[in-house]
């Protein structure tokens, strides 16, 4: 597994960015997440893997309270971002989501221009007072998302006119334009072809310099390629969490081994 990893940079920063303690998530009466405890380190790519319906996406959406939009969803336990409980009643989810950005499974650019797509977040959060500042943020975000060279001449063209891979990178640029501290990615490559996937993966590894990245993926190769930490979910339980190398080469739990060798899932 090691030979296909993009780059094996050691985890440079061992500080815990997000800590989840005994998190339970219910959809109505169904318990979708069972007593999950996990620490997500800063400047690290953490991959969530597991069979469909195991709860990894649900858990991811808890980290920036996107589950709030689902009426029947209930979250118990504590999730701390820099030691602050994000489910505290004093927390406004809007402020939280500016700190914890999200990229979705299907590329979902706004039906607006490329520029407006990226500028939307900074605008609503008042990050740029002058047009030049905003231009700078847009260019910077598009560069970080490795999209600048492809779109710099047509920033006013609609974002929906880009190819699937470009759209997804535009969504990443949009997510990082608000300078979040954590970037959540929900199967960001599942709708992309292998070339676009490779570009996005390279990008994810680059983003690690600035952000803590959490990525949900169905592809174990992808998890092995891009992540330093891997968490394996099964039927709502966090089965195993550890260094990616370790989880893939020497899993401690038999369920993990079964999954990565293709016997369950």
């Amino acid at each position: 597994m090691k030979d296909i990893q993009l780059e094996n940079r050691a985890v440079t920063d061992e500080k815990t960015k997000i800590a989840a303690n005994n998190v339970n998530v219910y959809y109505g009466d169904t318990r979708a997440i069972k007593d999950v405890n996990i620490d997500i380190k800063s400047r690290t790519v953490t991959a969530f893997i597991g069979p469909s319906g195991c709860g990894k996406s649900t858990f991811l959406r808890c980290l920036n309270r996107m589950n709030d939009t689902i009426d029947s969803c209930r979250v118990e336990g504590r999730i701390l971002l820099d030691n602050e409980d994000i489910y505290d009643t004093k927390v406004d989810p809007v402020q939280l989501r500016a700190k914890v950005g999200m990229v979705f499974q299907k590329p979902n650019p706004f039906p607006k221009s490329i520029y407006d797509n990226v500028a939307y977040g900074p605008r609503i959060h008042g990050l740029a007072s002058k047009k030049a500042d905003l231009d700078g943020i847009v260019e910077d975000s598009l560069r970080k998302a490795a999209l600048w060279d492809e779109v710099k001449d047509r920033l006013q063209a609609p974002g929906t006119g880009l190819s699937g891979g470009q759209q997804q990178r535009l969504c990443i640029a949009r997510a990082i334009a608000t300078s979040p501290e954590v970037l959540l990615m929900d199967e960001p490559c599942s709708a992309l072809d292998p070339i676009a996937t490779a570009q996005v993966e390279e990008l994810i590894d680059g983003l690690r310099t600035n952000f803590s990245v959490v990525i949900v993926t169905h592809s174990m190769q992808q998890a092995a390629r891009v992540s330093q930490q891997t968490a394996f979910f099964h039927l709502g339980n966090l089965v195993e969490l550890g260094d990616t190398d370790h989880v893939f080469t020497n899993p401690t739990d038999p369920r993990t081994e079964s999954y990565i060798t293709g016997r369950i899932g």
């Binding site: 809007v94 650019p109 949009r174 334009a177």
Partner: protein, 442 residues
């Protein structure tokens, strides 16, 4: 693979019984579909054809050119040309002047075989009032002989539109063959012509005796006022309610109840809204009868469910991924709705609104109950005061005219239907255009 039982059953060159049956069923269905479309088209052609056939002539009217002498002795004995004083001379004074002018012209043309009273009746009863208004506006005309164009009586007009002929004139006490002969002579002399009549669109309604003068002016104005009220009230209320229900309201027993009742409201017969309007807006709130404001309020109640249902449908059709995207970058719920969802839903909302308005424009029953069926000759004032003045509405005017005895009103009712249909076609065309133009794909 086992060997085929018979060569024929496996060859794709020969259709088997099952396939034949299936194909025949498909052919039959296509025939039914075509027949249904033709039946619909035929009904439409018959409807539009008969209305055009009856109503097209309403846009033309017969006018007679008369040289009227305006004697000072009869119209302004004081000689001061003060309109206030001149008002003492009523239409009873003016009517004989017109008759005498026409008599003189007929004498000139050698038509003598006609009684004085018959000549007077060839002219519309409206003409004397028009002449009087003209003279009151221009007092200096007194003492002169002026050329004046008057409307011909409805029967004379009907003669040139093929509604009246010599045979029917024999039997009709309102018109005589002598009058028709005189009219033909006038036409030959160029003093009588049948041409486009703008008055049909601008003039107010006229009484039973003078169908030739009746127009749609007040009705069109009243309908426009009501549409204005409906648009101003129903669109903001409807869209706000829909956004709240669709985006913010929790799903519980109460919202379910509201949802069911909005659908019920859309199905309530329109006359019930009329009774409601009468009870609440007129009897309780004390708003005036026959006023466009009340009509507009009643039609707003009727249009609201249509707009709410259309708006909710178009909000629902905006993919949730757009909301997720907005929330994901930290937009508040309201920002997500107003920045992203609403613009995408706008074409659908506008289409629903225009269709709702078109529906309201054609609504008659509730207006009958709030008194808009009254005979109104005065134009309402400009908005906003005009909203409280009496007015009629297009569909009510049509209903009104179909109740009148004189056959000339049949043509005018059909003409009014043409106008109403034109309004509806234009509105629906705008709705289709907006949808085509702004519909976005994502």
């Amino acid at each position: 693979m086992t060997a085929p039982s018979t060569a024929a059953s496996t060859s794709i060159m020969v259709a088997d019984a099952r396939t034949l049956k299936r194909n025949a069923a498909e052919k039959r269905f296509r025939a039914y579909g075509l027949a249904a479309i033709f039946a619909g088209l035929l009904a439409l052609v018959l409807l539009v054809g008969s209305i055009l056939n009856n109503g097209a002539s309403a846009f033309k009217q017969t006018f007679i050119q008369i040289d009227v002498t305006l004697p000072e002795s009869k119209l302004d004995k004081s000689g001061v040309r003060d309109p206030e004083v001149m008002k003492k001379a009523t239409t009873v004074t003016y009517a004989p002047l017109l008759r005498d002018g026409l008599m003189a012209k007929l004498d000139e043309l050698g038509v003598t075989d006609i009684e004085k009273k018959e000549v007077g009746n060839m002219i519309s009863k409206e003409a004397a009032a028009q002449l009087r208004n003209h003279v009151l506006a221009n007092p200096n005309l007194i003492g002169q002989t002026i050329p004046f164009e008057v409307l011909a009586n409805g029967r004379i007009d009907g003669f040139f539109k093929g509604r009246v002929d010599f045979a029917s004139a024999e039997l009709d006490k309102n018109v005589s063959p002598a009058q028709l002969n005189a009219a033909l002579a006038l036409e030959d002399a160029g003093s009588l012509e049948t041409r486009f009549n703008l008055g049909f669109l601008t003039a107010p309604d006229a009484s039973d005796q003078r169908p030739e003068a009746a127009g749609l002016g007040v009705a069109i104005l009243g309908s426009l006022y009501m549409m204005g009220v409906v648009l101003l009230l129903a669109l903001p209320i409807g869209v706000t309610a829909s956004i709240y229900l669709e985006e913010f309201a929790p799903t519980n027993r109460w919202t379910d109840l509201i949802e069911v009742n909005i659908s019920n409201l859309a199905a309530v017969p329109s006359i019930v809204f009329g009774i409601l309007g009468l009870a609440i807006f007129i009897n309780f709130a004390g708003l005036p009868q026959s006023a466009p404001i009340v009509g507009g309020l009643v039609l707003t109640l009727m249009t609201l469910p249509t707009i709410i249902i259309a708006t909710r449908a178009s909000l629902k059709s905006v993919p949730p991924s757009i909301r997720d995207a907005a929330l994901g970058v930290g937009a508040s719920k309201m920002q997500a709705v107003f920045h992203h969802v609403l613009p995408l839903a706008a074409p659908g909302i506008l289409t629903g609104t225009i269709i709702g308005l078109a529906q309201a424009l054609g609504e008659t029953a509730p207006l009958l109950l709030i008194g808009m069926v009254a005979f109104v000759r005065e134009y309402p004032a400009g908005p906003p005061e005009g909203l409280f003045d009496p007015a009629t509405a297009l569909p009510v005017q049509i209903y009104n005219w179909t109740q009148r005895a004189d056959p000339a009103f049949v043509e005018r009712a059909s003409g009014a239907i043409i106008i109403l249909l034109l309004f509806l076609i234009v509105m629906n065309a705008i709705a289709v255009m907006l949808r085509r133009r702004f519909e976005r794909r994502w």
